[in-house]
């Protein structure tokens, strides 16, 4: 069984799709990382406020 060799256009399309896929994956990782940082900081702030509130007379 023989496969036809890819045309230049197909190679370019594959490169474009791969590049876009990797860029989107990177974006997802970045947003996930940001979310983790923001959520953990908000958690810290809430805990701090609760501590301050408990300490207040």
């Amino acid at each position: 069984m023989s496969f036809r060799p890819d045309h230049e256009i197909h190679r370019r399309r594959f490169g474009r799709n791969l590049g876009l896929g990797l860029a989107l994956a990177g974006f997802v990782v970045l947003v996930f990382g940001l979310t983790v940082v923001k959520v953990s900081r908000t958690g810290d702030m809430i805990a701090e406020q609760a501590r301050d509130g408990a300490a207040a007379p």
């Binding site: 474009r16 876009l20 970045l30 940082v37």
Partner: protein, 315 residues
């Protein structure tokens, strides 16, 4: 706003399929590298520490915004890019990406970059990024570039904003330090681009762009390079007297500025015959040095900050 269409913006050259690299080129990666560096310095030298993930994300979104404005510039300027030797191989004039596609990418990425920077950092930083994109795409590309020989002088503000945005990401505000970084890039831009215009001889006149070389002649351009370089010196040294500076910065800045002034003096003293005879050797050397100058100036801010953290830098 006058613009001559050299080709149908919806047309891509037949048989040409854009690769991923063409879309990357649309974002002007070399300009982006300067934006990333100056924004990173603005963010890192600020007195408020930023979480590394927030810092990384913010710099990426600032770079994305800069890239988006580059794509909008390539969409609008496709007609003049096509006739300039320096820009004729860009993806739009070369027919690998249609002008309309470039506009769509530019608008979409602008929206994403501004929105994400607002979420990652704060509204001021996002607002400054939005204004920078507007300034570069509309004020510079659509309005000033084809209207006045002062295009580079005023348009230089667009490239001067990244460190201010970086500073705003960290502090949530604008201060004299971030304004000095702005002023440094703002004053550096005209001599940098006019040196380029001197050796890109026919490009701007062929494209009908009213660069100083075209409207006021090459002698006047040489004089302007010297004057703006002399004006740059007090700005660069003045930045060293703010919270950004210190002995190390000032020492490095003195050497860099002396070097730049010597280069500008050499450009000013030459005439066209001498420049043509050696293939614009001095002009090309000053243009290349001006890039090094900016990287080292901002590198010196960073060095001074690092020394300050070790208890060795600052005033």
């Amino acid at each position: 706003m006058t613009r001559t269409r050299a080709f149908d913006p919806t047309d891509r050259a037949p048989g040409l399929e854009a690769g991923f690299g063409d879309y990357v080129a649309l974002l002007k990666p070399r300009v982006m590298s300067l934006v990333v560096f100056t924004a990173a310095v603005g963010l890192l030298v600020a007195p408020v520490p930023v979480h590394p993930v927030v810092a990384l994300a913010s710099i990426l979104f600032i770079a994305l915004g800069a890239g988006a404005s580059g794509a909008l510039n390539m969409w609008w300027d496709a007609d003049i890019d096509a006739v300039m030797r320096r820009t004729a191989r860009r993806p739009v004039p070369a027919g690998r990406v249609s002008a309309d596609e470039a506009m769509a990418i530019g608008l979409a990425l602008s929206g994403i970059a501004v929105m994400m920077l607002a979420l990652a950092a704060n509204l001021l930083a996002a607002g400054l990024l939005a204004f920078t994109i507007f300034f570069y795409a509309v004020v510079y590309s659509m309005w000033l570039k084809r209207l006045t020989p002062q295009n580079i002088v005023i348009g230089g503000a667009a490239g001067a904003f990244p460190p201010v945005i970086g500073w705003a990401v960290a502090t949530g505000g604008v201060s004299v330090e971030s304004l000095m970084m702005f002023a440094l890039i703002f004053m550096w831009t005209p001599p940098h681009f006019w040196a380029l215009a001197l050796f890109m001889k026919d490009d701007y006149s062929k494209a009908g762009v009213p660069m100083l070389t075209v409207t006021h002649g090459r002698r006047a351009t040489r004089r302007h390079i010297l004057v703006y370089t002399l004006l740059l010196v007090p700005v660069a040294l003045g930045a060293g007297l703010t919270g950004l500076g210190g002995p190390a910065y000032l020492a490095i800045s003195c050497v860099l500025n002396l070097w730049f002034v010597i280069g500008a003096l050499r450009i000013w003293r030459r005439d066209e015959a001498a420049a043509e005879a050696d293939g614009y050797r001095v002009e090309k050397a000053v243009f290349r040095f001006s890039l090094t100058y900016l990287f080292l100036q901002f590198g010196a801010f960073l060095l001074e900050h690092a020394l300050r953290l070790l208890g060795l830098g600052g005033w």
